[in-house]
């Protein structure tokens, strides 16, 4: 049951991270196109800077849960390293729960922000006039998945902490095996 939940959560995290990876590729392509367009055709694409900023925000939040599962996010382990193994699990659980509360606050705050953007029909104050709800809603999605991943982490720590001993492999998440 709980391992099933973790697998499901891992798939979700991987999927959002895959979107982040695509956003990363797009960011590069966009910047390169701007350089090429300006130098070869003498005209700027215009939107590249603005969109790059949104892509960066997407990458940060969309990749956050997969980075969490792979222990890429930074935490200070000084205390945990100096207490007996049995207590370390409970300390980790405490830290995860605090994380859930803060990430939950992030998500709630950002959902409210999105609703306001939606109702106000806010567009960017740039020539592109991009409706800001699109990048913001995607960032909110990233935050929600991040919060869910933390909640699942807390549940696993509580019942079967051994499951977290090995981070999930990238390759096992891809259906085709090799990319």
């Amino acid at each position: 049951m709980i391992s099933c939940l973790l697998r499901l959560s891992d798939r979700l995290s991987w999927a959002t991270a895959a979107l982040a990876a695509l956003a990363m590729a797009l960011l590069f392509v966009l910047m390169l196109s701007e350089i090429i367009s300006r130098n070869l055709f003498g005209r700027s694409l215009g939107f590249s800077w603005e969109v790059s900023g949104y892509l960066l925000g997407l990458i940060i939040f969309m990749a956050s849960s997969w980075a969490l599962r792979n222990d890429k996010h930074i935490r200070i382990t000084l205390l945990r390293d100096h207490i007996p193994e049995g207590y370390a699990r409970w300390l980790d659980l405490l830290a995860t729960l605090i994380g859930v509360v803060i990430a939950g606050f992030f998500s709630a705050a950002f959902i409210g922000f999105c609703l306001q953007t939606w109702h106000g029909g806010t567009v960017s104050s740039t020539p592109q006039e991009i409706p800001l709800i699109y990048p913001r809603a995607l960032m909110a999605l990233g935050l929600i998945v991040f919060t869910l991943t933390l909640i699942v982490r807390a549940m696993v720590l509580f019942s079967l902490p051994g499951l977290l001993a090995h981070p999930p492999e990238d390759a096992t998440m891809t259906t085709k095996g090799k990319l």
Partner: protein
């Protein structure tokens, strides 16, 4: 005010010690402090706005690009070539390949405007290889964390641009003012590494024996790809092809070409580089968000301004003022994010320092140095986090390893106060000829 500061500090220590992820923890302290002391304001709205503003700013776009460049190069054989190429040349230099980090960061700092990008990119390329070749992990990590900070001092530099705008000084002059201090600081780091190696010869791998002229020449050829890559990126900036941020994309393109030529560009490698870069960007981004929000919260509670006001009421002599400001910024830099420290305190410290007879350009270099120190002081130090993320070394270990480099920077900053010309000579000299 004392209550606010003590509460925030205790909370920060408790929450970080419990092992909460740093970015979340910093934001959490900000949220709780604001709810406690400014409960009437809509904290969640400020948080959402700060999340949005700090992650979608175009000033940060170079970061993911340079991280992606590092991830690609990490998967190529460039690293090995770099080290094989450098090895014969530094064989007689005390410390040998230990200098790679400082040299690499100095070169890379000329490409990148941020210290996190410099540390992450160079570290990704060098750290595993240094340890594989038998160099001590601590001194490798320490030199990386220390030299990574050169990203801000050697132009281009995001911090100098912000300072130039805030203090209304020429950004070009700021860039020029950073060059000599940046090179001197790199030299100081290398002297330290050399001395360290002389005192502890046991901690270094053995020297190569019987090097011939051919070895040196072959080494030069091996350095070719790195040199070309750097030339490509710097060249794109100086010929007017690309802005400093866009040069990041040129770097990625160069890295792709290197991978292609070395036949290690597979879809699989490309995908894992993208996934790796996205996660590293996310890690740094979440910390930036947390650090920004904590800084904004402290700004709302007037903490940095109150302390700066206190200093201004002391009416100190110029050198004493610099010393006090150094302490002030080092302490703030332990907890807050470097860029926001500058923005929040500058309205008070800049008039103080100019009244004391210092050049605003000089003060810009001083501030860049203290922000660099903030990058390597625990508990909140970006370079420490980045190195922890790359090598898996504990933050406390990295912090201890970087201590000598921190002390060198303190000494260098004091030297800069006594001999301001280190910073001001080049801009003054060059602008006279215009």
């Amino acid at each position: 005010m004392i209550t606010i500061m003590l509460t925030a500090f205790a909370l920060l220590l408790a929450i970080l010690a419990s092992g909460v992820w740093v970015g979340l923890g910093l934001a959490g302290v900000g949220i709780v402090s604001l709810e406690m002391f400014r409960g009437f304001m809509p904290v969640e709205k400020l948080l959402a706005q700060t999340l949005w503003n700090s992650t979608t700013t175009s000033g940060l776009v170079a970061l993911p690009l340079f991280i992606l460049m590092g991830e690609l190069l990490f998967r190529s054989r460039l690293t090995q070539l770099l080290f094989d190429g450098l090895a014969p040349w530094v064989d007689r230099v005390p410390g040998r390949l230990l200098h790679t980090n400082v040299l690499g960061c100095t070169l890379f700092a000329a490409i990148s405007g941020s210290s996190a990008a410099t540390t992450a990119t160079v570290g990704r390329i060098t750290s595993n290889e240094l340890m594989r070749r038998g160099y001590d992990a601590r001194i490798a990590a320490g030199s990386l964390a220390g030299a990574g900070t050169l990203g801000f001092l050697i132009p281009p530099s995001t911090i100098m641009i912000i300072y130039g705008v805030l203090a209304q000084v020429s950004i070009l002059k700021m860039f020029m003012a950073g060059i000599i201090p940046g090179l001197l600081l790199a030299l100081a780091f290398m002297i330290y590494l050399g001395g360290y190696a002389l005192l502890r010869p046991g901690e270094l791998p053995p020297r190569q024996r019987g090097l011939r002229v051919g070895d040196y020449l072959r080494a030069l050829i091996q350095l070719g790809p790195v040199a070309l890559l750097i030339a490509l990126v710097i060249g794109s900036m100086f010929t007017g092809m690309a802005t400093p941020t866009e040069a990041g994309a040129v770097g990625v393109l160069g890295a792709l070409i290197v991978c292609l030529l070395q036949r290690c560009l597979s879809w699989r490698n490309l995908w894992s580089a993208l996934m790796g870069a996205a996660q590293l960007t996310s890690m740094i981004g979440i910390i930036i968000v947390g650090a920004m929000f904590l800084s904004v919260a402290m700004g709302f509670l007037n903490v940095p301004r109150t302390i700066a006001d206190m200093i201004s009421s002391l009416e100190l002599s110029p050198l004493a003022l610099v010393a006090i400001l150094l302490v002030f910024y080092v302490v703030l830099g332990m907890l807050l994010e470097g860029m926001s420290i500058i923005v929040m305190t500058l309205p008070i410290t800049l008039p103080l320092i100019t009244q004391a007879g210092f050049d605003p350009i000089w003060f810009g270099v001083f501030l860049v140095l203290v922000v660099e120190m903030a990058q390597i002081t625990p508990p909140v130090g970006f370079n420490l986090f980045v190195i922890n993320g790359i090598t898996g070394m504990k933050i406390s270990q990295v912090a201890r390893a970087v201590l000598p480099f921190f002390l060198i920077m303190v000494a260098f900053t004091l030297l800069l106060a006594v001999v301001p010309e280190i910073a001001t000579w080049l801009p003054d000299h060059l602008s006279q000829h215009r």
